[in-house]
Symmetry: C2
Amino acid sequence: MGVNSNRVEDFSSQETTLRITTESIVPGMEIHNVCLPPKKTTLQKLKQRLGEIFFPDDPLYRFKNQTWCKKLLLGLQFLFPIFQWGPEYSLRLLRSDIISGLTIASLAIPQGISYAKLANLPPIVGLYSSFVPPLIYSILGSSRHLGVGPVSIASLVMGSMLSETVSPHDEPILYLKLAFTATFFAGLFQASLGFLRLGFVIDFLSKATLVGFMAGAAVIVSLQQLKGLLGIVHFTTKMQFIPVISSVFNHRDEWSWQTIVVGVSFLVFLLTSRHIIFNGLTQSMKRPKLFWVSAAAPLTSVILSTILVLCFKLKTHKISIIGYLPKGLNPPSANMLSFSGPDLALAIKTGIVTGILSLTEGIAVGRTFAALKNYQVDGNKEMMAIGLMNMAGSCSSCYVTTGSFSRSAVNYNAGAQTAVSNIIMATAVLVTLLFLMPLFYYTPNVILGAIIVTAVIGLIDYQAAYRLWKVDKLDFLACMCSFFGVLFISVPSGLGIAVGVSVFKILLHVTRPNTLIMGNIRGTNVYQCLGRYKEASRIPSFLVLAIESPIYFANSTYLQERILRWIREEEDWIKANNEGALKCVILDMTAVTAIDTSGIDLVCELRKMLEKRSFQLVLANPVGSVMEKLHQSKTLDSFGLNGIYLTVGEAVADISALWKSQP
Amino acid sequence: MGVNSNRVEDFSSQETTLRITTESIVPGMEIHNVCLPPKKTTLQKLKQRLGEIFFPDDPLYRFKNQTWCKKLLLGLQFLFPIFQWGPEYSLRLLRSDIISGLTIASLAIPQGISYAKLANLPPIVGLYSSFVPPLIYSILGSSRHLGVGPVSIASLVMGSMLSETVSPHDEPILYLKLAFTATFFAGLFQASLGFLRLGFVIDFLSKATLVGFMAGAAVIVSLQQLKGLLGIVHFTTKMQFIPVISSVFNHRDEWSWQTIVVGVSFLVFLLTSRHIIFNGLTQSMKRPKLFWVSAAAPLTSVILSTILVLCFKLKTHKISIIGYLPKGLNPPSANMLSFSGPDLALAIKTGIVTGILSLTEGIAVGRTFAALKNYQVDGNKEMMAIGLMNMAGSCSSCYVTTGSFSRSAVNYNAGAQTAVSNIIMATAVLVTLLFLMPLFYYTPNVILGAIIVTAVIGLIDYQAAYRLWKVDKLDFLACMCSFFGVLFISVPSGLGIAVGVSVFKILLHVTRPNTLIMGNIRGTNVYQCLGRYKEASRIPSFLVLAIESPIYFANSTYLQERILRWIREEEDWIKANNEGALKCVILDMTAVTAIDTSGIDLVCELRKMLEKRSFQLVLANPVGSVMEKLHQSKTLDSFGLNGIYLTVGEAVADISALWKSQP
């Protein structure tokens, strides 16, 4: 014991210095003390922890060491990103923005009408929603390429959730009121998430969940469009697979061949034009040069089909048309928001679900294009921008909008430079609203169905699902749960189940962590898993175990059993191989990134149990927080000398030297 | 690049060997390949994973390499542990067991009567429950010191949950039926947990949760006993703090001073006798030699108070007494189990909650005493034993029983050697049931209240709560949540909230993992946290970050932001200190014990982003499963040479050598 008595660990005085033994026994192997982290008060720790939770990006770092005047300017730029790029705006940039703005407008107009129909709202609401929100986003938003407008997922979720309770055909005013109220709550929810810096909530919708969710939603929505594509008049408003399918086949007498012919031909045209360009909506573009084919295809279809119907006017009674759309700007709708009544809970629920989903799309799309052009998008700020835009939208006859993938992709490829392209698009929509509405009178509904199917079918990302299967089976399970959940139960349940599976996966990993038996890699101080590295070999009399998880209440019992089993198996192995008896168990704590009171109890109990069987228990490389808790709970004192080492290598060297000196 | 071209990582051929460069540039620093884990099929992996989840203790290891005959014997011993110790049972052991059995019987009889009252059941049911279940446990159970019988927590939870819906006074038969049905479901639930090897479910009730829960329950139950101690006749059946307190003070006119005097004096006697011995019921004994004081105190109180009442017979109309108890053995009650009707859900819910709670106590107590005597208790087998004992109990007029801490402690200290002490206790209870019941006629109810208060007050473990506060603030929060939840809402809600807080804690750790900046400890290859080890120093041009958590969907966005912030801060620091420019970012992946598809996307994206800013991204020491997923997702290929190293030290050495050779 005297050998390294200069290594007395003075834990009580909380020294954090490192002392090195000069008289180490193994040549070249110095023994280092394990330090406690610098001492902090509970308040300091809380402050640091809260800082990590709510301000991981240190949003105020720009303001450090600046003059007051500069700080004011930076603050203004922080709140209104338009002041960042505004002063440097030039005619050259404007030209690019006009081209891209007009391009997305040609996509936005038919999309707006179609998506509004998807949400069971009057088509004109889709156009309103492509006017006010983009203007607001262009002032508040920090992405330069986001094309703002209604999106398919949020539209269909709103449509499905609201129409389960209120029929859009029997009570159109109530339905509209609910939609605006839900939009308001979506915006409020989004803005609060951003304001309270709780943006990480959307991270719980993992990509796996979203892949499954979008595919399920796309299948349901495509099936629902059979109403328009087949010309069926009486159709279920339910959103589950079985009622929709039975609705399609129970009304075979209502199928109209004229509608089917028009629908199928335009569907083929639209799908082909999409297929040339995209690898599925959520993925990359195949041929960015041809982006305009895809961008112009919906408007072309609308124009062509309208002309077609107009020319063969006689047959319009067989093909349903959009009909009269009111001219004029967004009417105010603040008076339609209702914060009482029996449907308030439904509106809030719909608002939260559509809010989360549209945020997820908006933030992901913003980040994608920002990464392509190498600038940063601040998640929490984006949430506030999108939230405020929806709150304003709900007061001006708009429903939920966000950054749309298809518009943003077209916008980016058309060469958009700043958010001005959104202003140009809004202006184009304005002109349409003021002057061009009558042109849509003869547009057949079937074409809107075709546009919707084309949009949502791209959401089915079977390649991503295959990748999930290949890389991570549990991710694939979450994906399938959300797919079938959405298809057969409902949108919120599907999402809920998938989030549950994802969280379960995390808990499973914690409840049943890996423990590995480690060996020394010859000629080094490195210890690695015996099963994985053939060059790793056991050290006689030592059992080195690595625990690959924090030690919590949820796994302390398991770990105790598992460690005892490792020891039992090691003893059996020693007996079978006639090796030297086991004397010391080393736990490599590098991956034990946290410990709670149950974990500390485990360590204490294990030490006592092993002591009874005259084995020594040694901890190697406990991380700062674990070290601190061991100290606070006085467990450290019971380990004392030769109980805690910086590395496994040092532990083995020091302890075997000690054995040699005390035979 | 030619320098270590013999280190070409042949990932495609999945070689798991380790090759060492002979021509390493830094003297003494060999560069090792990072291996993939041995290849396994999905089925093999699933089998191993399920094995870890359900059979972490490898229960069949005893059967390996044995003859058929031996296997049969081992199987019999496995199912009925009585065959393990039965053949070696001796007269010496029997003597010890008789002494300890009679000692716990003297505790069990008053306890049984009191706890049954606590559950709002007829007192005789408590005695029935101390007869059949111990007999069954002594055959099936694997603990040698567990004293089986009703316990306070399960009794009070059953009482509170059932009496919220059904009044035990107005509908005693229905109440009894529900209690037996709940007991049946508790047993079924416990046995299934054991049979399906899902025992880890009870681990989710962490010690912190239980400390708070027991304290809250003890406060409520003690307050409820004021009914008996003050002699109040009309009392609420609610279990929340406020109705109980108001019930006490609204019936001040019913308080009877005779009852109060008797109650308080015996309470003081009991508490004193307890206090001599225990440091709180859940903790250790202070003076094991004096155990019999505590063990005999309840029976002494019952006898003394009964004599007292008998002598002053005239005043019995002021002190309520137990009254007539039927003589005779447990009547069968299988006909009272009802598996239909409106209260089935209540019975199931009560069964599950009491089942979990009694399991938690039983298993924990069994493990505690097994650890003291250095033998193993198989959790899943214990669950089956306790579950079967409760199922059998529900058919013989018993309610929920388990291993009780107080009985086991007395049993252990009285020198119990095997489960025979339970048989002796059951025999003593049998004699009482057959012949001694009339003696309890004059026992005052107030004494039962005093016994209950004494028992539950020991459940308030304020020292443990203080320890939680000192070591882990979030554990303390869970503890407080369950305390106040039980006190002010209800037992299941309180437990639910506490489990929620505990799970939230795990998720918080995953959502906001630590990232540390590492430095080299002079003269070694060890890299440690810069803030913690003063001897650790930065390596110019390198930024070494350790990620202390698996990378999941829930933290991949955070980690990306945080890593980019570290890089930004490092660059600021370099600028301020005029150091060499940053060229390489090394992620130490030792503690990244798992990765999912979102995590892989993070790694890929980070690599691309850093490449654009001409930084190199290097991973050090990825664990087996991470390596495997990186390989499956083809991410490994994009890292290629000089992208993955076994240790940070090797990465730094190899890359800086490379830079030197390519200036």
